[in-house]
Structure formats: C-alpha cells, structure tokens
C-alpha cells in the first residue's frame, strides 16, 4: 500500500480520519506504523499529500491528513477490453488502474465465455476493490469508471462511434497489420480482444467504426501482459 486512500466522508473538519478496516490492518501488520509516523495519503478522486499517525492501537489507527498535491496525470486512453476470465479480470483491473486508465469498457465478444458474466468478480464492490488496489499501488487517487457492455453489436454500432470521437481508434490484433505505434500524446481508444482474439466479423465491425488493427509481434501474450505491453508502448 503505497498510498493511504480515504473517502471524503471519512475525513473530519479537523482533517482527521479513523481507520478500522483493511487499511488499518495493513498499517498495523505490514507497515507496522507507530504514533508520529508520516505516510503518503490521498482523497479518493481528489488531492494527495501526507497523513500523520496520531493514534495507533491494535484495533484502530487515527491519522491527520494534509492534502496539497495533484495525482499523476491519467493516460489519455479509453480501453475496450473483452471480458477476461474471472481470475485474470481481477489482476487486469489492478494493472490497468495502476497504469492510469480512467475509462474501461468490459466487452462481450464471440470468444468470451458467457459464464464469465456470472462471475462474482463482476460485482460492483469487487471491481471497486481491485481498482482501489491499483490506485494504492500507483499512488493515484482518481477512480476509473468501469462499464459492462454485454452486447457487442449494439455497443459497437450505436455507442462506440460517439464514444471514441476525436480519438485515435486502434484494435490490437495479431496478423499482417502495422506495428502498434509508440510514444503517443493524443487521445486513444484501444480495443483488446479475448484469449483467442476477436473473430473476423468483430474486426470488420470495429474497422467499420473507424478502428485500425495494429499488432505487437508474433508472440501470443496473456491478456494481462498484452494490456500492460500495449499501454507502455502507446504512451
């Protein structure tokens, strides 16, 4: 936990917060904080700065915060990610949140198993938890938005053109395509397929919506590796 993330409703008018949950446990057992310790803290969706531990007991930690700094800049990226299998979803959300993506659309495609949509990992509180872990890791405070797009065709035909307007539209797909570009500064909408890739029809639909296929080389990467590799290369 590189950042202690607090919600606005947890901070008193005196700038104090009382912690008894996972964050307290972490400060107690891993960081082994003591009264007087100072650590990096942030307000969810707000500024960051420092927290001073003003009380610490086995059952609670109380901190006083001073927040005066902006968080790292977000990536100028909208991510369309074919819904990964549940255990990979959790890790992918953490990676993506840590890397600074703020708008994530989890997408149904032909090669996404229908059962994945029933996974408990898709419960809002689970998604929220994994996003928080990513933000804490990267010292960011701004929570990404996650949207569930359970129908490919209506989403790509009816919503995606407006959603991706004004951005460079890319779909990562193995094949005889241009290499993924590097070091961009413009906004990008990036679509990443499931294990096994998009089917031809889906690529055609994305191309019709203005997307250009790009590739990362002949190695087949796990979804979580591919997402990180693509983002690191694009920006």
């Amino acid at each position: 936990m590189n950042l202690l993330l607090l919600r606005a409703d947890e901070i008193s008018d005196q700038g104090e917060a009382l912690l008894t949950d996972r964050r307290h446990q972490h400060l107690h057992q891993v960081n082994r904080v003591q009264r007087g310790d100072r650590l990096r803290a942030g307000l969810l969706n707000g500024l960051q700065g420092e927290a001073e531990v003003i009380e610490h007991r086995p059952d609670l930690t109380r901190v006083r915060v001073e927040l005066d700094r902006a968080s790292p800049a977000p990536l100028p990226l909208r991510l369309l990610l074919a819904l990964p299998r549940p255990r990979m979803l959790a890790r992918s959300l953490e990676h993506v949140a840590a890397l600074g993506v703020k708008d994530i659309h989890l997408l149904h495609t032909a090669r996404v198993e229908k059962s994945f949509w029933q996974s408990p990992e898709l419960k809002p509180e689970k998604i929220h938890h994994h996003l928080l872990l990513g933000l804490e890791q990267a010292r960011d405070t701004h929570l990404p938005q996650v949207h569930l797009e359970t129908r490919f065709k209506p989403f790509v035909e009816d919503q995606l053109p407006a959603l991706s307007q004004g951005s460079l539209r890319l779909v990562a797909h193995p094949g005889p395509y241009a290499a993924c570009p590097r070091g961009l500064t413009e906004p990008v909408t990036l679509a990443i397929g499931p294990e096994g890739g998009f089917v031809d029809y889906e690529i055609d639909q994305l191309v019709a919506a203005g997307f250009t296929p790009v590739q990362l080389g002949e190695r087949i990467l796990r979804v979580e590796t591919a997402v990180t590799a693509l983002l690191a290369r694009l920006f």
Copy 2:
C-alpha cells in the same frame, strides 16, 4: 497452451511422441483433442511446426510432429531482476519468458528479504516449469537461462562489467532521471530493483559499472507490471 513443447528425447525416429503428463491432461481436458487434430508444436530449444494427434485415449495422447519453422526472435536483452517475493517470482518468470528474454539474473539486493531465497519457487524444477508455461503461451521454444546471484557486490563488481560489455546498460529507478528510451534495436542489459527500489549505494555501484538510471514516470508499479512495461517500451 498455444504450443505443445516436446523434448528431443521424447521424439522417436519416426517423429512420434507419447504424452501422459500435464500436456496430455491439457490436450484431453482443455483442448479436447481428437484423433486427426493438428496443433502447433515445437522442439525445446529447436524448431517448431505442427503435431497431428495419431492416438488419443483418456490416459495418453500420441502425436506425430513435423518441425520446419524458426521460433520468434529473442529480445536482445539481459535482465537483472532483484529477486521478487515468491508468488510474484512465478508470474514474473512466465511474463519474462513469454516476452522473449533469454538471460535472467535474479539478484540479491538490500531490500530483498533474505527468506525469499529459501522459497521452494526457486527450485530448478519450479523455475523450469514457469519458464515452460511462458514459452507455451508465447509460442517460443528457446528456454531462458536463469542465474541466481545471491551476493550483490561481488556480482556487480566482478562479473557484471564483462557480462554487460557491448550492451546499453540501464537501471530502472524512480527519480529525476531521463525517461526510459523507446524502440531500441541494440543489445540492452536492464537492471530492475525490488519493491521499494534499489538503495542509493546499489545505484552508485551500478552507475560505477556503467549503468544509466532511467525512469518510467511517477506511478509506482508492481514488479511484474514494471518488467512488462519496460520491455514493451524498450523494444
């Protein structure tokens, strides 16, 4: 399993191989192969091509292979990686093998917990297993070499200068350094620190050995994310 990897001693003069282990289980339960199916196969440290299933029963799979193609080019990278905590080591080895790194030095540093070196994950058969998973994922046949460097100073002073000769020497480290370069084609030796980073003394030692510190931005990434991001950006 995107590639069925076989050892030379498993392939008969007729080009046949009998599988009863993890690979058979995977072909049986996940791929659900049948007689006549063709799949991508490779010889460990050799060529790749196709395997045809010539016999399939619940307890065994027999294939005939034809190998005629080279594997993807390796990354021109030597990786010095501070030994990650055990559960992250396994994943990092898979990522790194999938990305095409062929020479990996796991390194002791001040912030590596000594207990990590006692982990069962460091047994040769465990390391081998995770490297194979990475190769199978990426459709590569060439096994990386993994070296355990348990003493930082003698390694950096006595071995590293010769080992890294003729390569661009980089150490990834947060701070006021140049941004990590992009799209290189030359050989690189890249050092990546542990959680919490290298200590100043270690950076000084690496600089004395010809290494230049470079940074990836202000976000703090998990080791496995940082490794993938650095490799994707460098090459």
